[in-house]
Symmetry: C2
Subunit: 162 residues, 2 copies
DNA sequence: TGCGATTAAATCGCGAGCGATGTATATCAA
DNA sequence: TTGATATACATCGCTCGCGATTTAATCGCA
């Protein structure tokens, strides 16, 4: 009926008079926002055992595929910049999960690696956490996979604006 | 191929040896997270003209449908609680967009309404902002609508866990 | 009526996300 | 070689999200 990235919502001129559905229901940006909140809340108790936050966990997953990534490389994967990542990574370093060292070839660059503890956490969390959540969505593996592709494409499209 | 809410990612045992795709690509939670970041960044310059943030804007949209909502009612719509909403609403009050008054029938309750300025902002932003973003996604109105329904359902399913 | 339990918001402290700016290293051109 | 420019990361101040706690008002029930 109405668009959902953002729309005028149901009949603007009578908005004040008619009982109406929640206008937020027409906003894709809101359903994505709310699903993000919900994911965060589902993961939190699972990640509490490892004493990492959800964004920290995503960083660890991103770091698990390759040692010695730069801060800027990690940022490209996570779509974040050093103003967000530097403090986050320092917390992971303090927690003993990540090591940071300046690249001797270029002292401006910081190279990141998981410590053995960090790698163990990545492996364990990657193996243990997912099943419960997968089931909880009540969606088939195929549906989830195609939804994931759609969301990746949506993110790409939005990032290309301007 | 692999699950996408959260999965082991490509072949765990060879993770360290093989060049491999970004394991984050297999996480629906990450694609949702990244799309949320992207939406935020797309909206920011558009909302800057109105000097409101993205979450403030969502609150204004939620408030635009009905006057006199309680903080808790707004929270149910936005999936947020008073610890987040109270400061946000106070900023909107300071900006002259929202009015807060205690309910005389129950002094514990705070009733929220858009001021005329706030309503103008809601109307204007609701009418002006969407089109550009809709186009930018490169998706049809129907696809966006069904994606929205899917994301609403996903959020609901995640919220029902436990 | 009075008092403990419940409820609605507010407050506090922390991690995250980000615009703006700062600092140190590297590069390049004259 | 040197000075200007560019690059990589760090820092700062703000808003947001949230667990935990607090304050104030209301309710329930003896």
């Amino acid at each position: 009926m109405y668009i959902n990235v953002m729309t005028n919502g149901p009949n603007h001129t009578t908005r004040a008079e008619l009982p109406q559905a929640d206008p937020l229901d027409h906003f894709l940006c809101f359903s994505v926002y709310a699903a993000g909140l919900a994911f965060n809340r589902v993961y939190k108790p699972l990640l509490d055992r490892y004493a990492v936050t959800y964004p920290q966990y995503l960083a660890i997953v991103a770091l698990s595929s390759k040692d010695g990534q730069k801060v800027s490389e990690l940022g490209e994967r996570l779509f974040l910049e050093s103003n967000t990542l530097t403090p986050l990574i320092k917390r992971l370093e303090t927690a003993g999960l990540v090591s940071r060292r300046r690249d001797p070839k270029d002292e401006r660059v910081v190279r990141l690696s998981l410590t053995p503890t960090g790698r163990d956490l990545a492996d364990e969390a990657l193996q243990c956490v997912p099943g419960e959540i997968l089931q909880a969505t009540g969606m088939s593996s195929e549906d989830l996979s195609s939804l994931n592709q759609t969301m990746i494409a949506l993110g790409s499209a939005l990032r290309e604006i301007e």
